[in-house]
Every structure is written in structure tokens, then in C-alpha cells.
Symmetry: C2
Subunit: 443 residues, 2 copies
């Protein structure tokens, strides 16, 4: 269950302006559903929560069981959308300290998302002699970072186990029919899962891309898909009663009023990577054609003691979207102290979550008073179902918001620019001419 | 050793504009040194690398040895500047996976930097039956988050050990003479270290605030202070030869030209919390009076596959400051593969760090071509000495930059606003009137 509260944008935009967005929102929402808008080849996520492949879903659960039974470590190889969703889910639903926990599920290491020698060496050391499996996630199989990592870990697993055993420990999440990784998976007989053609990386968390690592971490993926499906049904509504409409209208109005930075804030440290997932979703969908809100994030209350000053009194070109967990899990009661030297006895008997709640409410008022519009997203609690709700909420809102902004929210043409230069500088065959030009510029 | 390269700002600002900033920079730098500018009561960090308290420094090392010998876990309690510096150093110089490493130094958990019940409960579980010590870091001893955490962990340690043993396991980093924590430390006889009156939280990483946790993690704090001292001497120069001047001039010129977001980027995942430390330093120092560059950060190459699209093609109101590690540690050579199904054999024999270097160079050109000015900060390698260099670099640049911007870079008046509201909502004695007002607004 998820609600949105946009009452704290009204000191900054007119309520009439909001109402006047009705037709824009309606058009964008219907265009998305009809599949007649920009990038409509990539709308597979829209009805995914009800239309996902049940046979594959069962295989994901079966593979997760096998990995749990024969591996102490799962190495997940992927970058961008093939990395952030699963990591976000595991940190949010299990813990940011997941690998440190005493648990009956494997440690999970995410590799192939950077080009640091020391980072990848360290993961090899951390695996040590433990039994491990690999989930390599790549549509093409040729993206530089994951492809290099897969070379390294494939060799490691083939040295550790005999050929058949090694093949049985590699799980490929890739294209359904073509590409280097799909070909290899077919040749070698890896268990493989599909990244659908009509779902881009940043919208793929509810496919095998996210689901297999999550299931291995002990996350209930049935409950998660049920949450997403409930959200899908609830958010189909075409009116301002729809929390998705409220969020889209609010952020676009604020953007038009010069609020060009959106700060996603949460009061649970486990949300950190959810914010990273959100940044990719919105930054990559809207940041094009010289437009788009810049997505940033903070972890409260920690960052009230770092970015808090800026938010309260810096440039007034920002707004906050605050994740508010209504029933935060856990309970720690503050006890009375005889000496009361810290003066906190007025909190004796109170739960820490109650204090967190007052920090949320106090900050909301302080920031609005300071000139920062606030959008509140209420989530019931932290569990699989609510994860499904918030993921679908942000995905649908992103698609509609991109249309309202007038961009194609499903492509990412700008990501190629650095790759081309990098290939040229690395001496990749076919990039010789570009290489000469760049080398001249770098002199 | 640290260099700055600002050649990639000149497509966006005039070289003459840079030169014309000479007098402004000279005035700001001299004012800082003379102590006649805004916030001059807080300049203790300026000459700290040569003037630190040698007796205390030895006690820090001695305490670190004791903790290493009698504890498997150190709990560090602090928020904001009493947290970010030490965590940044440990992640950067040891590893983001520090607690997972097989090592001869204690695990280190940072608590008291949030109000999440589940987060703090988890740390208690993670300590389990292991021997532990506490380093509580707070100037006053009454800041809500760390004070609550200290109540909880003080009780835990007093239940675990007899009174004398418990007292010997608590290390207080606090005011030299006053405040709740100082009083308690004196009464109980805790080993205690000083947060100097003339050093604000965000400039305190080279005091006991940062040094004790770092020393416990096995970081060579002598080498670190030597690096900072070398930086202090090098950066005293009053000319554009000074990398500090180059950075300050570049970012302020870009800001004046509408580039209001600075993205700190690095190509090593271990830099993530260094960026968080930097965000506090700059955001809290400059974000006031409706002014200041918004500090953001990305981890490359990971985030080239998330925020990369926005940076390449989104709103053109941003610039990048890129940390470039010239000799990145570690070595992983990419091997040839018989089948070459991923097409990466053109990289065979190359080190992953070489690929990372080309990603850096290729991205630089792509982003500049896309309209994003780039400032490059060259660091020799990742070690204690270079940590000292970059910390002093950013601190000095921040002080000068704040003066150039025309703000007091050493206060943080805006941090009080949320605290007052929170106290009122929590029912803290003395805030009754404010409470009634807020409760009415929250209806």
C-alpha cells in the first residue's frame, strides 16, 4: 500500500496549476497504456506484474534453491539496471549488512559494475575456498565491465570444479534468442533466464534480472510480485486520486517553477540503494534533450548533519521527495538513566522509531519553512509486498512523467558516447579512426 | 602529491576570467591565514597538520593498540563530521568491505548516525558475544542520535563487563573542558580525546575524531599526518600554480556561469564515502544565504550506466570534478580466451586498471563534448599520505571558496531548524510553546 501527500508543494505552486495538468496526465497515461507514444517498444514492464512468465518464475525459484543448497556465495555479474535493482532489494528487504549476517542463505557479491583491479581482486579473496555460483546478467554479453568480470569468474569456477559441475553453477540472465551470452549459454547448457526485448535495463528489476539474486537472498518473490500486481491495479486509475498522478503532477510543476533538483530522502539506512536504483530510473529516463530534473539522494537523519544545511538554506532550486515508512520494523525502547547526564530522560519509554517519526515531521516543517517543497510517499512498512508497490509506483510514474516532459523515457542514447571513446582508446578493432582523433586531443 | 587540471573548463569559461580572479583568491587566502575573515574562530584545521597535539597523538596510538588487543569490535558513535571522515578513510584506505575482510584488526561499526530501530538492533546482533569497545564522539554529549546510541551501548558494555573493565573500554572524543560527555568522562575516568574548540565537525577528520577509528583499523596515522603536512606546505603558495587556487577559481567561475551542481566522480568504488565526506564539507560550508553549488556524487564506471545519460544529455547546469588515481593499486590481467565469444581478446594481456584509465579518458572527452565542464584532481595512489593530501586540499579549498562566495564557511545555522521542531514534537522540556504551534500545523 502506498500513498502520496503533495500538500507541502502548495506554498510553491498554485493548486489551480495542478488541476490544469489533468489533460496532460490523462493523455500521457493513456498513451503509455495504448502503446502509441515514444519508445513504445519498451513497455513490457507495464503489465509485467500480471503477465510474467510463470514457468520461468518457477525455474527462478528452483535455481535459487539449488544455489542455496550448493553454494555459500553467489557472484552476481551486471552493471546499471542489471545490478542496482537486486542490490537495492537485498539491502532494503534484508540488510545493508547482508553479507555480515548470520544466515542460511549465501553471501552475495556484485561484480562487473566497475573497472577497479583492487575491487575485483578483493571479491576473489573474499570467496576464498567457499563453494560459489555465478549469475551473469547481460543482454548482449559484450558490455565491457560485466564481460571482463565474467571472463575472470568463469575461469575461476572452471578451475575450481569439473566441467559439468562448473556449467551447472553458472546462471545466465540474457536475451531470449541472440547475443554472445545467449549463444554461450546454449552451447554450454547453462540454466538461462530472459531479459525481455521490451523491457529496458532500468525497468527490469521485476524480471529474472532482479528476481534470481533476490530469491537466493531469501526474499519472497511471490509476495513481491503480488505487491507489484496490486499496485498495477490500483494505479491504473485516471484521476488525481491516483498517487502516481499526484507525484507526476507535483514534480513536473515544481520543475516548471525552477525546482530542478529532486532529492529523494529516507529515514532508514537500508533505503540507500533504493535511492540509487531510483536515480538510474529517473536520471536515465528524463535526462536528455537538455532537460530533466537532476535526481539526488540523502540518508536521514545522518545527512541532516551534512547536506541538511544546504537543503535548509542553500540555493532554492530543489525539492524533496521523502519516503515515509509508516510502520518501521524493529523496536528499541529508550530507557531511563539515573543520572540523565545527556538530558534524554524525557524520551524514556519511547521507541527509537517514535523519535525517528518526530525527526521526519520536524524536518518536513523546517524544510518547507526554508523554501523546499516536499512530496511525501507513505509506505506501510518494509517488506516484499511494499517493495513491489514502490517499484511499480516509481516505474509507472517515470513513464508518465517522461511523456509529460516530452522526452522518450525508454531510451538512453547518451550512454554510448563514453563507450565509443573508451573503445577507441582501448584499441578495439573498428575504432581506429576515432582513436587517432582522440589521441591527438589528449596530447 | 596532488595536481589539478582545469583545461577542460575553458570551452565554458574564458581564460581571462580566470586570471581576473587573482585578487579575489589572494584576498580570501590571506584572510584565512590572517584569521580576519568570517568564522575565524574555527580555523584550527588550517595549521593542524604541523601543530597537532603530539602527546594526544601518542595516546591515540596507544588506545588503538589496546582496542586491537582486547576487542574484536569497535563501536564508533557519532554523526555528521563525527562519522563521515573516519568511515570515508576506512573504506578508501582499507576497503568498503572492511568488516568482511580476514584481518588482524577489529570490525568497526558506525552507530548513532540515524534513528532506525532495526539498524541499531542489527549492530547489537552483529556484535554478539564478541569483545568490544566504544568510541563515543560528540562535542556536547547531547546530540540526539549519538546520545541515544551511547545510552544503549553503554548499558550493553556495562552489562557485559565489570564496572572497571567497562570504563576502560569506553573512549570519549569530546570537548576539552565542558559538556555532558566531558563531565561523564571525567567522573568515570574514560580515556578521552579532544575535539578542539576551533575546529568544526566537518573539518575534524585529522583530529582524534577521525584518527582513533582509523588507527584501530590499521591505518598508519603518522603517514597520513605527514601527507597532510606536505599538502599544507605546498598549498600555502599564493598563485595560480597552486592546485587549490585552480580548483577554487574553476568551480566559482563555473558557478557564476550557471553551473550550479558539482558532481564529484571517481573510478574506484572505495571512494564512495570520501564523496559523502566531501558533500558535507562543501554543502554545509557553502549552502547558505540562498547560495552555493549543490554537491552530488557518482561512482564510475557503475554510474555511467545510471547517471551517465543525464550527465551526457540532461540539463546543462552541472560540472564534474573527477578524482583520477594515477597509480591505482592492485593488478588483474585480462587473459585471452580461445573462443573470444565476448570479443574482448583485443584486451588480452592488459590490466583492468588500464581499461579503467581509458574509461576515464574517454568519459572526460565525451562529457566535455556533451557540455559538461570537467575539473580533474590527480592523486598519485590510494594510501595514507595521499589521503592526507586530498583531505587538506579539499579543506583549504573549501575555506577559500566560501570566502570567494561571500559566506561564512565555518558555521551551519540551518542545521538547528529541524532539531528545534523535533525537540518540540518529542515533548522536550522548554519547547512547549513551539510544540503547540507545530501540532496545530500538522493536523
Amino acid at each position: 500500500m502506498l500513498r502520496v501527500d503533495i500538500n507541502n508543494i502548495f506554498p510553491f505552486v498554485e493548486e489551480t496549476a495542478l488541476k490544469s495538468m489533468h489533460d496532460e496526465l490523462d493523455r500521457a497515461h493513456r498513451s503509455l497504456e495504448a502503446g502509441d507514444g515514444l519508445g513504445s517498444d519498451f513497455l513490457g514492464w507495464l503489465r509485467l506484474p500480471s503477465q510474467y512468465d510463470r514457468e520461468e518464475f518457477q525455474r527462478i525459484k528452483k535455481s535459487a534453491e539449488k544455489i542455496k543448497s550448493d553454494s555459500q556465495v553467489l557472484v552476481v555479474i551486471g552493471i546499471g539496471g542489471s545490478y542496482l535493482g537486486a542490490r537495492a532489494a537485498i539491502e532494503f528487504l534484508r540488510s545493508p549488512n547482508y553479507n555480515l549476517l548470520d544466515k542460511d542463505t549465501p553471501d552475495i557479491f556484485f561484480v562487473g559494475n566497475n573497472l577497479s583491479s583492487s575491487a575485483i581482486s578483493e571479491i576473489i579473496d573474499l570467496i576464498g575456498n567457499r563453494d560459489f555460483s555465478i549469475n551473469v546478467i547481460s543482454k548482449s554479453g559484450t558490455t565491457t565491465e560485466p564481460a571482463i568480470a565474467f571472463r575472470i569468474f568463469k575461469k575461476l569456477i572452471e578451475e575450481r570444479y569439473d566441467a559439468e559441475e562448473a556449467r551447472g553453477r553458472i546462471y545466465a540472465t540474457t536475451d531470449s534468442s541472440k547475443g554472445a551470452l545467449k549463444n554461450l549459454a546454449d552451447t554450454e547448457g547453462y540454466e538461462s533466464f530472459v531479459i525481455p526485448d521490451n523491457i529496458g535495463g532500468r525497468y527490469s528489476v521485476l524480471t529474472a534480472v532482479g528476481l534470481l539474486p533476490m530469491a537466493v537472498a531469501g526474499i519472497d518473490i511471490d509476495a513481491l510480485m503480488a505487491g507489484a500486481q496490486a499496485a498495477m491495479e490500483a494505479f491504473a486509475q485516471k484521476s488525481f486520486e491516483n498517487p502516481v498522478w499526484q507525484y507526476v503532477a507535483a514534480r513536473n510543476l515544481l520543475y516548471r517553477n525552477g525546482k530542478t533538483i529532486e532529492i529523494l530522502a529516507a529515514y532508514e539506512p537500508s533505503f540507500r540503494f533504493m535511492a540509487e536504483w531510483w536515480k538510474q530510473l529517473y536520471g536515465e529516463s528524463e535526462g536528455k534533450d537538455g532537460k530533466g530534473i537532476y535526481p539526488a539522494s540523502v540518508d536521514f537523519t545522518a545527512d541532516l548533519h551534512s547536506m541538511g544545511q544546504y537543503i535548509q538554506e542553500g540555493m532554492r532550486n530543489l525539492f524533496e521527495t521523502v519516503i515515509h515508512i509508516k510502520n518501521a520494523p524493529g523496536s528499541v525502547v529508550i530507557e531511563a538513566d539515573e543520572d540523565n547526564i545527556d538530558g534524554l530522560n524525557f524520551l524514556a519509554g519511547k521507541d527509537l522509531n517514535f523519535v525517528n517519526e518526530q525527526a521526519f515531521r520536524g524536518t518536513l516543517l523546517a524544510h518547507v519553512d526554508g523554501g523546499v517543497p516536499n512530496i511525501i510517499i507513505d509506505l506501510n512498512t518494509i517488506d516484499e509486498e511494499n517493495f513491489g508497490w514502490i517499484v511499480y509506483f516509481f516505474e509507472l510514474a517515470c513513464g508518465i512523467s517522461g511523456y509529460v516532459l516530452g522526452v522518450n523515457p525508454f531510451n538512453q542514447p547518451g550512454v554510448e558516447a563514453y563507450k565509443k571513446n573508451m573503445f577507441a582508446l582501448l584499441g578495439k578493432p573498428g575504432f581506429e579512426e576515432q582513436r587517432d582523433i582522440l589521441m591527438e586531443r589528449l596530447k
